[in-house]
Amino acid sequence: MEQIIQVTGICVVGALLALVVKRGSSETALLLTLAAAVTVLLFLAGAMEDLVAFLEELGEQSGVSVDLFIPLYKTVGIALVVKVGSSLCRDAGESALGSVVETAGAVCALLVALPLMRAVLSLLRELMR
C-alpha cells in the first residue's frame, strides 16, 4: 500500500513542479516529467521482478517450454516503453512523433513474435499430418 502512495505522491509532486518550471522553460519541464517517470519505474522494478518470477514459475510447473512465453514478456516490455514514450512525445506537443513511436512498437512486437508464429505453424502442421 505504501508503495502506491509513494508513487502517486512523487508523480503528483513532479507534475506540479513541471507546471511551475514550464512557465519559465518548457523543455526543462519535459525533462522533469521524464525524470519523475524514470524514478518511479526504477522503483517499481522490484515489484515487477516478483511478478515475472511468479509467471516463470507457473510456466515451469505446467511443463510448457519457456520459449513460448518469452515473446509475450517481450511484448509486455515493448508495450510499457511505447506507452510512456508516446505519451511523453504528446506532452511535448508532438503527436506525430507519438504515433511514430506507437507504430514502431507494433512493428517490433510483431518481429519479436516471429518465433512464436513459427512454432504455431509447426504445431499445426504436425497435427494435420
Binding site: Q6, I10, V13, G14, L17, V20, V21, R23, G24, S25, E27, T28, A29, L31, L32, L34, A35, A36, V38, T39, L41, L42, F43, A45, M48, E49, V52, I70, Y73, K74, V76, G77, L80, V81
Partner: protein, 64 residues
Amino acid sequence: MDVDLIFKIAAIGILVAVLNQLLVRSGREEQAMMTTLAGLVVVLMIMVQEISDLFDLIKNLFHF
C-alpha cells in the same frame, strides 16, 4: 527512492527559467537561448545514468 533527482532537476529548471527571464528582459536573447541549452545539457547529464539503468532493468526483466 531517488527523490532528490527530481528536486535537483526542478531546482535547475527554476534557475534556468529565472535566468532566462532576466536575460530576455535585458534584451540578450542569444544568451538566454544559450543558458536554456546549458541547463538542458546539465539536466540530461544528470539523468543519463538513471535512464540507462532503467533500460537495463527492462531488458533483464522482460528477457530481451
